[in-house]
């Protein structure tokens, strides 16, 4: 017996030693959350209900009184089933598809209903009950306490969100959390989440000659990288999406002249790879047409602004107000603007107002204040409803969501939300997502929302960035000229041994999706330019990483006639805005495709190298920061606004930080 006691004492001591101290930042946030919820609960209790019988306590009381009455075994089983049902209904990651406007109201079990074991009324009950029973021993012991918690889930569902918010990031790739050097387990110190996937691998042309992806005009990753470097730390590799860094810059592709067929031009060039003398870079550029400003259709904008408590930092709501004020100057008098905020509950702050009435709009913007939690889903729904009422035939409707990404309320089913947004974009309303501030930026969510909403995601960290995005590129950001733009490149095994797409990991499409018009892809806006880079290894190059197959049937080698010298064949599909069927553009990629000025190609490859140095430099060999900086610096070109000079500065910062 003393032996046992000693054991336990040992265990206790060991446990003490093993228990970590709570993370200080998490603690502070959790305490703040508890206080906030407490304050909100007090408020809502006074205002919301005429009688004091809150539904939560009603449920609780109902079950307790039922427990008092029912003692037979059968009764307990009934209770179990009932509780299982309430759990399923309230659980944040419920499998039940979430209807567009999830109201907790119908889920409450009234006292009467609870007193009678109302199980048969709910068809799914037996299965659910079984699932739950399987999960715990001694269920009868646990019935009452867990029902208390489940009942509360109605409220805690709103706040217990980090589980559900994290769950929200859809399967774009691995989800990573920003690290903070100081913390022992970095994952807890920050709730930023980034969408990314493993870097694209080398493909052997003979085995897998076709590469398919969706275009991406987002630039958020570059801003996130810049923000990290400016704050003296290297960005986490997961936050680096190379295609977004490359696409941040304009490479001066000539656009379509006058009334061409396609709304954009394609440009292909082949240059020497700076980091590998044995390979070549195939650059595919797409330049959207820029219609004259006066020709553009009227624009209906709904600003959906996150005013939750986390938005109060200077680089969030205040920057957002300034940014939108800048943008207002670019609108035409007949454009319309409305503002919806979401924080705790969603609300319309400004009814649709003509852009000519600047004073009213500015006043509404300036009244915004941060506070409360984030009812993202309700806000989105309201914004889309409002946008629907504003649209006339020929107008462009767009919801502009401005948030720090903390979609932590009301989002219990990420799939349902994605579907909802995708349906809305099919209905003609576009979505742009603007990220502000750092700390809990949920980049993965933003990406998912924008990709499903036929929109763009961008990250605004300074007023300069707002100027670039919302003033200089306003028309591109707001006027789509082609939807669902997909690129497919078929490489010629006779000339190309291996190829690798640099970036676009989160945009990969299956080969068969290219011709399937139902598969969603990126949109391109007026004046937008998109660049994609392939690193290809010519047949016979000693830079080849894989051994050629001894027994492979080398079909291409006896190919003669057309296309024998070509590197590959580019196919491009797009839909005109609002159209359901796609158009096809085809163009061979010749081995000598030049055309573009060296400076543009050089700068693009320098940025691609920059991204790979930050993310995964396994293909770069000895090529390092010095070479990247020299290459970028030599190819800065005209650079009227200093964006390229800034990139060189960032590379130098990154070089210092990585030493």
């Amino acid at each position: 017996m003393t032996d046992d006691l000693d054991d336990l004492q040992d265990l206790k001591a060991a446990m003490r030693a093993a228990s970590p101290a709570p993370d200080a930042a998490r603690k502070a946030r959790n305490l703040a959350l508890a206080e906030k919820n407490y304050a909100e609960l007090q408020g809502s209790r006074v205002g919301a209900r005429p009688n004091s019988e809150r539904p939560v306590s009603g449920l609780w009381r109902g079950i307790r009184s039922m427990l008092n009455v029912v003692s037979s075994r059968g009764g307990l089983i009934g209770t179990t089933a009932l509780i299982a049902v309430t759990f399923v209904a309230f659980g944040p990651i419920s499998e039940l598809a979430m209807p567009p406007a999830p109201s907790p109201q119908p889920l409450f079990v009234t006292e009467e209903a609870a007193a009678v074991p109302a199980v048969p009324a709910v068809p799914a009950a037996p299965e659910r009950a079984k699932a739950v029973t399987g999960g715990s021993n001694g269920l009868a012991d646990l019935v009452a306490p867990s029902s208390a918690f489940s009942g509360l889930a109605e409220q805690s569902q709103m706040q217990a969100a980090p589980t559900s918010r994290r769950a929200l990031s859809p399967g774009v790739g691995t989800l990573q959390v920003m690290s903070d050097e100081a913390a022992p387990r970095p994952a807890q110190s920050n709730t930023e989440a980034f969408a990314n996937a493993d870097p694209n691998p080398i493909h052997v042309t003979a085995e897998d000659p076709v590469s398919t992806f969706s275009i991406d005009v987002d630039t958020a990753s570059y801003s996130v990288v810049r923000n990290a470097l400016m704050h003296g730390r290297l960005p986490t590799p997961e936050s680096v999406r190379i295609e977004e860094m490359v696409n941040y810059f304009n490479y001066g592709y000539p656009g379509p002249d006058a009334q061409g067929d396609a709304p954009f031009t394609t440009h292909v060039s082949v240059t020497q790879t700076p980091w590998n003398p044995g390979t070549q870079l195939v650059r595919i550029g797409i330049q959207g047409a820029l219609p004259a400003v006066e020709d553009r259709p009227p624009l209906n904008l709904v600003f959906l602004i996150d005013t939750s408590g986390s938005m109060q930092n200077a680089d969030k709501l205040p920057l957002l107000k300034q940014s939108f004020a800048l943008m207002l100057n670019q609108l035409r008098p007949e454009d319309q603007v409305a503002i919806v905020t979401y924080a705790g509950s969603a609300g319309q702050v400004l009814a649709p107002t003509a852009a000519a009435d600047r004073a009213t709009i500015l006043a509404a913007l300036n009244r915004l204040e941060a506070g409360g939690s984030t009812a993202g889903q309700a806000g989105l729904q309201q914004a889309y409803r409002l946008a629907d009422t504003m649209g006339q035939e020929g107008d462009v409707n767009r919801v502009i969501l401005a948030t720090d990404g903390d979609f932590n309320v009301g989002l219990s089913d990420p799939e349902a939300l994605k579907d909802y947004i995708a349906r809305q974009s099919d209905g003609g309303t576009y979505l742009s997502v603007l990220g502000f501030g750092r700390g809990n930026l949920d980049d993965a969510t933003m990406q998912a929302l924008a990709q499903n909403g036929n929109g763009t995601a961008a990250y605004i960290d300074t007023l300069n960035e707002a100027q670039k995005l919302l003033v200089d590129q306003l028309s591109g950001a707001l006027f789509p000229i082609a939807d669902d733009v997909k690129i497919q490149v078929e490489f010629n095994p006779a000339t190309v041994a291996e190829y690798r797409l640099i970036g676009y990991e989160t945009r990969a499409l299956r080969r068969e999706d290219f011709n399937n018009d139902a598969v969603d892809a990126g949109e391109i806006g007026a004046g937008h330019a998109v660049t994609a880079l392939y690193e290809v290894t010519p047949v016979g190059s000693d830079a080849r990483l894989t051994e050629p197959l001894r027994y492979g049937s080398n079909v291409a080698s006896d190919q003669t006639g057309t296309g024998a010298d070509e590197i590959g064949f580019l196919r491009l599909r797009y839909k005109a805005p609002g159209s359901d069927s796609s158009a096809l553009i085809e163009q061979p990629i010749g081995a000598d495709a030049g055309g573009q000025s060296q400076a543009e190609a050089g700068f693009a490859s320098a940025i691609a190298g920059f991204g790979q140095l930050l993310r995964d430099d396994s293909y770069l060999g000895d090529w390092g920061w010095d070479e990247a900086i020299a290459l970028a610096n030599a190819n800065r070109g005209e650079d009227p606004f200093g964006y390229r000079a800034e990139a060189v500065q960032l590379m130098r910062l990154a070089q210092s930080l990585s030493q």
């Binding site: 228990s19 603690k27 407490y38 994290r166 989800l175 799939e415």
Partner: protein, 180 residues
């Protein structure tokens, strides 16, 4: 200022709508709560999330605190229930994860990695059935058998039996390990 006021008075005041009392109380007991959450889950990351869930739901719960039990007993009961809810949610979550599984896989991988980092004891605790683990977590927290019985809603005899069972199982695990 209110450092000398008992947990129970603070909790009663909080149930009556006193925000300052609520804050003081939560702050005072946060570390202990986190410690219990760690022992209940056996992983730091899980414990942080569980503590978060509890903090989020606590305001609504404390409205029902009637001073019938010691506050810590009450709080532990809340924590144990929250841990149960979380386990169930994870069970249904991993079922639901098939469609958009990448994220969930990454998370599970992270959890698995965490698991290898915790020492033998937490590992062993995680191997125990839930009921035994909860009981052990409480008893290791200096909760008496009587209180643990009230927290878990079982009889004191059950707690004693479970502890005997825990010791038996832990001893067996250790023996197996030493042999293996």
């Amino acid at each position: 200022m209110r450092m000398n006021v008992s947990d129970e008075s603070l909790a009663t005041a909080a149930a009556g709508g006193d925000l300052a009392a609520f804050s003081t109380l939560v702050e005072r007991r946060y570390d202990q709560l986190f410690g219990l959450c760690f022992r209940l889950t056996g992983s730091r990351a899980e414990a942080e999330d569980l503590t978060h869930d509890i903090c989020a739901a606590l305001p609504a719960k404390i409205m029902r605190f009637r001073g019938e039990a010691r506050f810590m007993t009450w709080l532990y009961r809340v924590a144990v229930n929250a841990a149960h809810d979380r386990r169930r949610r994870q069970a249904s979550q991993s079922r639901a994860a098939e469609g958009w599984g990448d994220w969930e896989l990454a998370r599970q991988a992270e959890l698995a990695e965490t698991a290898t980092q915790v020492d033998w004891l937490t590992g062993a605790m995680r191997a125990l059935p839930d009921a035994l683990r909860d009981t052990l977590a409480l008893v290791l927290d200096d909760v008496t058998h009587g209180e643990a019985a009230r927290i878990l809603g079982v009889s004191e005899g059950t707690i004693s039996w479970r502890m005997a069972e825990v010791k038996k199982q832990l001893r067996r695990m250790r023996e197996e390990e030493e042999q293996g």
